[in-house]
């Protein structure tokens, strides 16, 4: 809960249509600070679409979004980042042609003014990203000036998570954060998600693996065909029961709405 009692993020009756395709249908969901929420559903269920509204990439067709009690009327990633909403996505977030240091600060580059003109503060960019490289256990021979194209998938993911931790954020959205990661790397990421939650951040963890997220989440939200079909505290249901809901989701409550 925020100071004024409202949830940190409130999404009310969100509809999102792409032409005739309805990606989200009347989705209402609240998220509180200090909560780790698992957002679960099959491929195409609308998980990523919902998150892209929160990260400013999509503007809902209908419905209202509130952040910290204030209604959001303009959707752009820049605004989301300014509000402290950080999204860690599998496919995007790093530009392969740029160095780690340049990627680290992309969009909010630190500057030093020379004759009133803003020049990149390379020293700060290098030092801060080097610290993250060290904290996240990247290979010793990886430097802040190395291009991202030289890094492995796990290393790239580490940099994205490290970047989200380094800045003062209020919401961390992790979109399938452990795909293509080794078992140890996966545990590291899950541990980080819990740490962030304990620091009072809202962590939204997207996955299609209910068993993995059930272990760490406080609450599970299940989407199916763009409709919210479950929103339960983790303690209230076992992961088997939740999996059953996912398996039947498209054919029971949701299918009636579609028809």
């Amino acid at each position: 809960m925020t100071t004024n009692g409202a949830p940190l993020v409130r999404m009310e009756n969100i509809d999102l249509r792409f032409g005739r395709f309805e990606a989200l249908k009347h989705v209402s969901v609240d998220f509180d600070a200090g909560e780790l929420v698992g957002l679960v559903g099959d491929n195409g269920a609308g998980k990523t679409t919902l998150i892209r509204v929160l990260s400013g990439l999509y503007t809902p067709t209908n419905g209202r979004v509130f952040f910290d009690g204030k209604e959001i009327t303009y959707f752009h990633p820049k605004l989301a980042i300014e509000l402290g909403i950080e999204t860690i996505q599998q496919a995007v977030g790093l530009c392969e042609n740029l160095s780690i240091a340049r990627n680290f600060y992309l969009g909010r580059e630190p500057v030093r003014h020379v004759l009133g003109l803003p020049f990149l503060d390379f020293t700060k960019m290098r030092d801060d990203s080097r610290k993250v490289l060290h904290d996240f256990g990247l290979r010793a021979n990886v430097g802040a000036d190395d291009e991202v194209s030289l890094l492995s998938g796990g290393e790239r993911q580490s940099i994205k998570i490290g970047r989200s931790v380094a800045f003062k954020n209020r919401v961390i959205i992790m979109d399938e954060p452990t795909n293509h990661l080794s078992v140890r790397e996966r545990e590291h990421v899950n541990h980080l998600a819990l740490q962030l939650r304990d620091q009072g951040l809202l962590v939204i963890y997207i996955t299609h693996d209910i068993f993995q997220v059930h272990k760490i989440a406080d609450r599970i939200v299940i989407l199916e065909n763009g409709v919210k079909i479950a929103d339960v505290k983790s303690g209230e249901m076992t992961s088997d029961e939740l999996e059953q809901i996912i398996r039947e989701g498209g054919r029971t409550g949701a299918s009636q709405e579609v028809a």
Binding site: S55, G56, L57, H76, P77, K78, L79, A80, I81, E82, T87, Q89, A91, V92, G93, L94, C95, E96, N97, L98, R102, N103, Y105, L106, G107, R108, E109, V111, L117, P118, F119, L120, F122, N141, E147, L150
Partner: protein, 329 residues
């Protein structure tokens, strides 16, 4: 990490630096052309015209390089060059030389803004959009001049603006080469050492990732089209001040040379990698080759053949070089 892999990594970084090949290439042609022509090519008389042509082509290539870095293309620069020259020469006698320069730059920027509008707002492919404006504004150039040419009057020739913008000579060289050098320095700093440049390189490399970091991708693409238009019009002004007149075909086919200069200069057409020094050197190499062919009495049409071959070879070579470097690292 062994010493051998370390040196390979350095080699990889060097090869990947966009301007490396053009610096080597330029050095080679300077030596070969000078020797082959027994010094005529490098003589001041010849260099005066080579540097002048390099300067205006180079400035146009710099604007093109910015657009290419954003993973777009602008083939209308030749026509904007012509419009810039004609607006400048046509309006100088009525509104004065300095305002005429400003007006020419505004026209160039406006055409660039129109290109940007077509690409970002109406989602037209940049190649097609700027092909359209290439023809529109070439047509307007012909229509304005009606088969004649605009000339600089005595009043304009004696103005300070005429001298500053291409008309002044120092040590026998026109001052437009100084403009090129200044712009290379400024744009190099902007692209590689400012937040604007960081975001430009980022969106050229991966626009979805840049957007996810809050970069205003469409606004920035729009801005580079405007910059390209302004630079092309400015190049037109410099050229007009140098030769004192311009006709409807002023700058025709220079768009291809500008693109070739960028490609030779190490700007990848796939975006995200560029070199301002490289684009300027590419322009110098191209005009140097053209002059070399003239000195050897080769028919000028062969230059166009060579231009096409250079672009194709540079593209294949660039890919092969990177593939080779990646294998070795």
């Amino acid at each position: 990490m062994s010493a051998q892999t370390a040196s390979r990594l350095e080699l990889f970084q060097l090869v990947k630096r966009p301007a490396t090949s053009v610096i080597v290439f330029t050095a080679v042609i300077v030596v070969v052309f000078s020797v082959q022509t027994s010094g005529t090519w490098i003589s001041q008389a010849n260099m005066t015209s080579v540097l002048q042509a390099s300067a205006t082509l180079g400035i146009m290539a710099l604007g093109e390089a910015l657009v290419i870095t954003a993973r777009e293309i602008d083939i209308s620069v030749g026509s904007i060059f012509g419009i810039g020259a004609l607006v400048y020469l046509g309006s100088a006698s009525t509104i004065g030389a300095f305002p005429a320069v400003i007006l020419a730059l505004i026209c160039g920027g406006a055409i660039g803004a129109f290109n940007g509008l077509l690409v970002t707002r109406f989602k037209v492919s940049a190649l097609i959009a700027t092909l359209g404006t290439l023809f529109i504004f070439r047509g307007i150039c012909y229509a304005l001049t009606e088969g004649f040419s605009f000339t600089a009057g005595d009043q304009l020739r004696q103005s300070v603006a005429y001298a500053i913008f291409g008309g002044y000579e120092f040590f026998g060289y026109k001052d437009s080469i100084l403009w090129l050098i200044a712009m290379v320095v400024v744009l190099h700093a902007v692209v590689f050492a400012t937040p604007f440049g960081n975001r430009l390189l980022a969106l050229g490399g991966n626009d979805a990732s840049a957007l996810s970091r809050g970069v205003h991708v469409t606004a920035m693409k729009w801005q580079v089209f405007v910059l390209s238009g302004i630079l092309a019009a400015f190049a037109g002004v410099l050229e007009a001040s140098k030769i004192g007149f311009a006709d409807g075909s002023f700058g025709r086919l220079e768009e291809l040379q500008a693109i070739a200069a960028c490609v030779i200069g190490g700007c990848l057409l796939t975006g995200g990698r560029c070199s301002m020094v490289g684009a300027a050197l590419g322009a110098f190499a191209l005009t140097g080759i053209q002059s070399f062919l003239v000195l050897n009495s080769v028919q000028p049409q062969w230059f166009n053949v060579l231009l096409g071959v250079i672009i194709v070879v540079a593209l294949i070579g660039d890919k092969a070089l990177h593939a080779w470097a990646l294998r070795r690292s």
